[in-house]
């Protein structure tokens, strides 16, 4: 049984959901299958890992669900689960029902030479209402550099653009490298004159899901930038991440770029 409320809920959900970082879902006219994360967990350069892409059905069953990566960049290696071999499918089976969540797992090897994030072009094929369909999705895989002894690494370098006269929630993603970091808090130490607001009008912000960052986890800390009465241009925002490693408090400084642009028209 399929109901209109499921379709509506799925549509609303997909419009409002973006994880784990600030990457917004691309416009997508087909709503029978939706990708919920256009950005994956981070991978260390020179490393390899299984990452998950999460899907939700939005209009009837998508059967024979098969996903492949097309022409990865040189040095980037892709592998699929042994039992599917040349593609990956959903975790539970090969059909995504209306209103159902399921994910696909892909093994990605990132070359040591990778100096920045990698983009993967996924091609999805499935049967919908008896007709074969093909869709393409661009997904960003954040790449972090491991220098040894680090507990975590700042993933986000640029916060993108904010229009003059507007406010926007922006996010700085962090990838955990140590087993468990607690009480994560982020504060902006110098925004170059940009007004900064934290969630609940607090004095700092934490990670979106919880204040703990674990190894292999990527999570995002958000704050709001009010681009009122400021000069257009590129701002370097100084940030301070604090956390507790076991009983030891630790601090990590960093910075992100943000561009205030003059709205056109």
């Amino acid at each position: 049984m399929r109901t209109r409320i499921i379709l509506l809920l799925a549509a609303i959900l997909m419009v409002t959901t973006a994880l784990p970082a600030a990457a917004a879902p691309k416009p997508d006219v087909d709503k029978d299958v939706e990708l919920t994360n256009y950005e994956t967990a981070a991978i260390v350069a020179g490393d390899s890992a299984w990452i998950a892409l999460n899907w939700v059905g939005g209009g009837g069953d998508a059967e024979n669900f098969q996903l492949v990566v097309k022409k990865p960049d040189p040095g980037v290696e892709i592998r699929y689960p042994d039992n599917t071999g040349t593609y990956t499918s959903l975790w539970a089976d090969d059909m995504l029902s209306d209103g159902e969540y399921d994910f696909t797992a892909v093994h990605v090897t990132v070359p040591y030479s990778a100096g920045s994030d990698i983009k993967l072009l996924f091609t999805l094929t499935y049967d919908h209402a008896g007709k074969p369909k093909t869709r393409s999705f661009n997904v960003r895989v954040p790449v972090v550099q491991y220098a040894g002894g680090e507990d975590l690494q700042q993933v986000t370098e640029s916060l993108g653009e904010v229009s003059l006269g507007e406010s926007a929630w922006v996010g700085v993603s962090y990838a955990g490298l140590a087993p468990r970091l607690d009480d994560f808090q982020l504060t902006v130490t110098d925004a170059g004159g940009l007004p900064i607001v934290y969630p609940a009008d607090g004095s700092s912000t934490s990670l979106h899901h919880n204040a703990r960052l674990e190894d292999g986890e990527t999570d995002v800390a958000r704050f709001r930038v009010d681009a009122y009465d400021v000069e257009p241009g590129t701002y370097t925002i100084q940030i301070l991440a604090t956390y507790r490693k076991d009983a030891t408090p630790v601090e990590l400084t960093g910075s992100v770029k943000l561009v205030v642009v003059t709205p056109t028209g």
Partner: protein
Amino acid sequence: MKRHLPAALLTFGILLVSACSASDQAAGPTTPVDNVAPTSTTSASGVQLAAEPVSPPELDGNLTGDDLLVVIEARWMCDVQRFAYSDLNAMNGALTERLSAHGFGQTDYDTFKADLEIRVDLREQVLVEYDAYCTDG
């Protein structure tokens, strides 16, 4: 979700896959690995890769049965995409850990997933819980 293999074959598959702990099985049209202990490996770069979240998220202690599985399912679907896993057994082990922490086994989960296939209300509950837990902002 529809099951494509008879129960006996699924059972055999579980045993076979469990015996091959180093291989990357699971995603796709076969049953997930059952009772696989979480693993943790060190990568070529020396980074300790995630085997699983260290502790499952705390849930409302008053929830039981399907209501509890709804929350577990929604949060698992959200959390799995935030982690990089050393192997698929680790990925499956993360789910197993969450289930066992609340008194469920793989069979309970398989039954729940089968119910999701036929029960719109369950899927709606997962959607709502996923939205509440995972939606940006």
